[in-house]
Symmetry: C2
């Protein structure tokens, strides 16, 4: 049966009716900024009601950034969405819409989307890493989404790679996120631009703030300074990924998010570190590749997570989902 995935983000709320095969049958979007105060729950419920119109659906899953306790369908903490913290979203939104509602971390949902319909669709063991402002992650082992005891598992961005490294948004030093996020790319671009003022990157940095997209574009045009930024970022990402490869022995590591659009400019250094630092046979098996679904991974994964094994809709943190 069809299901609804809702991607509740800091910039937009996207709700989609998705077929079991992963086809988006209907979709609505609202800019989060336009939601009046205290209307977030109502807006999400409204989006569900609107997108559902005329479709039979078996369930809804909300993909939300931050800390989720999937077992009680509650958002414990979400950086820009405090309004939906610490309420039973299954009851609040389920009650208003008449469909079963579950909640999942957005990176876990995107990981599940790639696993069901994207880069990992033919395997049983997949790691998903998303490089945005931060570094998010989701892990599927033996076909099961790794949630951990409280639904906080799969938090790949805050493993320490360099205890004396740059400070991270979380307050620690040398986290993967501090070394390989979009934010880290911008910081590194400023440093490299200073060192190579005559490069295309150096010249752009004088004009305006350099964005991650700029670095990718200049690197594609052959600017050595920009290539260096991506290579160094990929190297750190690779040190982290090598550890995950040893720990999980996955078939696929799928890298998504904005910075992944640099493709092999960032992924080739990742592969190099994995060859150096991961152990056989895990390093020989694993394929490190770009995620394939783009921003749709969230709604697609959420919809698939709303659907339980054998087409049944189930709740709870250790449900085995298909």
């Amino acid at each position: 049966m069809n299901a609804i995935g809702v991607d509740v983000g800091g910039t937009k709320i996207a709700a989609a009716v998705v077929s079991p095969e992963g086809e988006i049958l209907n979709e609505v979007r609202y800019p989060t900024q336009a939601v009046p105060p205290n209307r977030l729950v109502g807006t999400i419920a409204g989006a569900i009601t609107e997108v559902k119109d005329g479709f039979e659906v078996g369930g809804v899953c909300l993909a939300v950034p931050g800390l989720i306790m999937a077992s009680i369908n509650t958002v414990i903490f979400s950086p820009n969405l405090h309004e939906i913290e610490n309420i039973r979203l299954d009851e609040e939104i389920g009650g208003r819409t008449g469909v079963r509602v579950t909640v999942e971390n957005d990176a876990n949902a995107a990981a599940w989307g790639e696993f069901r319909y994207g880069a990992g669709k033919d395997v049983d063991h997949q790691i998903f890493i998303t490089l945005g402002t931060g570094v998010g992650g989701g892990v599927i082992t033996h076909g099961v989404l790794l949630r951990g005891a409280q639904g906080a598992g799969g938090e790949l961005g805050h493993v320490t790679l360099d205890p004396d490294g740059p400070v991270c948004g979380c307050g620690n030093h040398g986290c993967l996120e501090a070394l390989a996020s979009g934010t880290a790319i911008r910081r590194r671009a400023r440093e490299v631009a200073n060192d190579y003022p005559g490069s295309a990157l150096g010249r752009l940095a004088v004009e305006r703030q350099v964005l991650g997209e700029d670095v990718t574009e200049l690197a594609r045009e052959g600017d050595e300074a920009s290539i260096r930024v991506l290579k160094e970022t990929g190297r750190w990402l690779g040190i982290g990924v090598a550890g995950f490869v040893n720990v999980f022995n996955p078939e696929v590591v799928a890298v998504g998010g904005g910075a992944s659009r640099a493709g092999d400019l960032i992924l080739e250094p990742v592969r190099e570190e994995v060859r150096l630092r991961a152990r056989s046979p895990s390093r020989d098996l694993v394929e490190i590749k770009e995620a394939t679904l783009g921003p749709a991974s969230g709604v697609l994964g959420a919809a698939a997570l709303a659907r339980g094994e054998d087409g049944e809709y189930v709740l709870g943190p250790s449900r085995r989902v298909t």
Copy 2:
């Protein structure tokens, strides 16, 4: 039904008949050194036949150090046990003994032992780390042993914690194993003994080679230099454990192996790093404690792994075991 666990180690082969409740009903041991060339398979089969005498058993699991492909019951590589590499042990040993035989990595088996009968017996999510010559690991999430695609998962000792750190036995730099194993403790003890020649540790180091046990004993007696060695080791272990806590959101981290006998002298610095570096709520939930089964975790875990869900004896890498 009873099962047999066999711990096939570099120093001894221990085979035990174990009840479903984890009671050792019969046990035999052979020193590995005493096994004549080309007689290792025969010796293991003989130990099984001998220990089984008079007991009804449903299956056997061999716990072997090194790289195991559980799906084909084959040891791909084992540092000191080349004789049993790349043969179908289920067929070779199963054929000689008339019981079903499976194979598992020794750290995975020990992890499963602690999970079923020891430090993790009341939880669903447990990480096990063993500090011996190297650092071994095993992970249980959602009640399932993490084997990964080829049975090589749970390799916790070779995550990078410091890319420019000391060289590891695996050839890389700054692995957890290079920073927190028994070998690392001995190296660090030599360094600290040089820095503090007047300490008890410094004086012992002049007389003879300092062992891990010496460091623990001197630290217990209050020697500041030895306490420092354990604290620094615990700090690095804690940096690794904090990452695992973020990734797995486990209820328990059980630390076993020789060095774990230092107890809180090594575990308190681990807890401190986890408080600093792991994220809420994972860091608040997790309990970091000493493993409780000692060296018996291997045979106990192996016997439990021979036993499938609902008392059935099943083969294969993604079997769900109870």
